[in-house]
Amino acid sequence: MAGKLNLDPTVVAKARRLAERAGGPVVELARSHTTVSVERAVLRLAGVHGADSDGIPWVNRLVDAVRADVGLGHGVSLPVFHAMRTTGVDDITVLAQKAAAGAVRFAVPAKKAEATAARRAAKRATGDGLKVVDRRRAERDRLIKRYGDPQQRPWIYLIVATGDIYEDIPQAQAAARAGADIIAVIRSTGQSLLDYVPEGATREGFAGTYATQENFRLMRAALDVTSKELGRYVRLTNYASGLCMPEMAAMAGMERLDMMLNDSMYGILFRDINPIRTFVDQRFSRQVHARAGIIINTGEDNYLTTADAVEAAHTVTVSQLLNEFFAHEAGLADWQLGLGHAFEINPEVPESFRLELAHALLARELFPDAPLKWMPPTKHMTGDVFRGNLLDGFFNLVGALTGQGILLVGMMTEAVVTPWLSDRDIALQNVRYVLAGAGNLHEDFVPAPGGFIQQRAERVLSEAVDLLDRIADDTLLNAIADGTFGIMKRPADRGKGLDGVAKHEDGYYNPVTEALEA
């Protein structure tokens, strides 16, 4: 459906070039630093599992122990696998337990032969973890072949969020039966700022359910049953965001999650996580997602909840271009880029619907091969559920008209309650009506040449290019510090999780990064 906006290809190419120039230094930063969460993800792939009696995972205890002895700058792989050889412990979780009890001293192997041996052992152990990820990916491909993809585009994305995984499961299955193609389990409020991943099946959460490996496994297994029943592969989504982004990615890969929310700047802007921590964690998590065949969902919709959706429309485009650059650099293919955008223009603004159409079409044409994620109105949902349902209908119509890939179903009770069973039913009825009645309207819909929609798209793109130009000159970190996105000022030397960042020392070794970049 490319070509409806008559975008100037030289401007588009310039925008991409600028995004690369703005993102380049950040990639360098990510390549030369590690974080506690990256190292914990490596240990998870190497087979460390479980938690101590306080619920602190053994990966945290092990990383903390290594860090106390030799720092983080060499990575934990060499000290850990060297210690396994010197102590004769052959179970890495047992080693973590011993280390937590203070019974193991860690050192970076000094002799070349020792280092080579530790490296080889680390490679083998993490290789086993990556093999699990590969098997899970092949399994997904097989199941999709067997049960099939959804018959329509956009895929219908629904959220469950009870706080209790055993309540989530029947709700998710019911949502799938009612038409959802993708189930997202919203995380408990606050999880993004936990510097560890909780363990086990959980039944207590606030406005969401904790993301744990066991919860992932339970939900995926339940949706496999439902996929079989429905003859349609139902995808599962969670969040690779917050302080444990790399570990979430690793767990998602090992438990065959299908999509992960993973934005390059969301944690910085909206959770006040340190920018460097975020970029380092993000690169690693995207490399894992690339390997696992997971589709990422980026979070540009969020900018529009704080900034004005008309004035700041170009910041969404800029962020999409940056997200695309970072994703490609990390090895993700276009089909894995669920770039986000949203229907958040104040409905009182004249021509708001035409503006939404122009913005949505711009995203579609800039990223023709990406399954764009189209997010429903939230900011201007007032509690007037009747108007809300109407807005959601227009949102659905834009989604159908502009060929969006993933449609997050809007709830008329947004900003009122967590969705009730009936809210979801009404919302799905709304989607079905629009897709059945106007799902192919895009065939007839061509904006007038030089008309309002084309002009608006052109203007947003040119504003995006101007902003990228400034960012590339000023550096992305400074732009973030100055409040360019979402009006949030986030300097690089502040924010949560900064103390978990370390610059690579000479001889830093990470067997997972090595394998993923091979």
């Binding site: 706080g163 606030f206 406005a207 909206f270 006040d272 909840t305 009730w420 009936s422 039913d425």
Partner: protein, 257 residues
């Protein structure tokens, strides 16, 4: 007119609409059950206008009907705004004249609440509904701590910034988290700072009962639809009107808007 009843299309007809779900499949009996519920809720006669089964064991109903209840508007207890609504210019002028320094405001979402939309709407330059946020006010020095701030962090920052007022936003209400967090916050400030040194404590969020200020130990509660200008006007009213004295005794009906 002080005695009123709901209005459908004729004065005094008492018509209301209601929707709900019952955990049973749709059949005649389910419709009867829906009407029974409506009847017990005071709708008489009740008309079942829509019934639709959802999934296996649930049915959604829409019921219209007449209620006989009367409402006496004289007996309604609400929180009226008890301070003048000022423009940004006026707010700045009053602070300059009375305080002779900038007024320090510290804002945060506390507890596990990650929804900064409320605090940002009030504090961010961008503001909401066409009104600029408190950062726009020249005479207000705003520190926005963002989301998931712990209570001790908040108290410490308030102390360090010599906060005249602390604004706390709470959106998540699951298991009354907003009430528990607010109580913990007000208790911490009472413990950490003597009366008179304590900043004005203000909470806001869409699900607060504005009458609960006293019970929660805060000076003011702002509910849904509050704009930055109202908050700024209140700050000026409350802080410049009490030069040294401790805050006025807290009563439930004092809170405003």
């Amino acid at each position: 007119m002080t005695i009123i009843r709901p209005y459908g299309d004729t004065t005094g007809d008492g018509m209301v609409q209601l929707s709900f779900t019952l955990p049973i499949p749709h059949d005649k009996r389910a419709e009867g059950a829906a009407l029974q519920l409506a009847g017990k809720m005071g709708m008489d006669p009740a008309m079942l206008v829509h019934a639709k089964q959802m999934g296996d064991g649930f049915t959604f109903f829409v019921v219209y009907g007449k209620v006989n209840h009367l409402v006496d508007t004289e007996k309604v207890v609400v929180v009226e705004r008890d301070f003048p609504l000022l423009s940004a210019k006026e707010v700045n002028a009053v602070i300059k004249r009375r305080l002779r320094r900038r007024l320090n405001v510290v804002g945060a979402c506390i507890g596990t609440d990650a929804h900064t939309v409320g605090i940002d709407a009030i504090l961010n330059l961008k503001g909401i509904a066409g009104e600029k946020g408190l950062e726009y006010y020249r005479e207000l020095a705003v520190t926005n701590m963002g989301a998931q701030v712990s209570v001790p962090e908040l108290v410490e920052t308030a102390r360090a910034q010599k906060a005249d007022a602390v604004l706390v936003s709470q959106v998540v209400t699951q298991r009354d988290a907003h009430l528990q967090n607010t109580r913990a916050m007000s208790a911490a400030f009472r413990e950490a700072l003597p009366e008179g040194k304590r900043p004005l404590l203000i909470v806001g969020g869409p699900r607060f009962d504005e009458l609960m200020a006293g019970e929660l130990g805060v000076d003011r509660i702002f509910g849904r639809g509050t704009t930055p200008r109202e908050v700024a006007s209140y700050l000026v009213h409350a802080l410049t009107a009490r030069p040294t004295a401790p805050p006025p005794p807290l009563t439930g009906t004092k809170a405003a808007l």
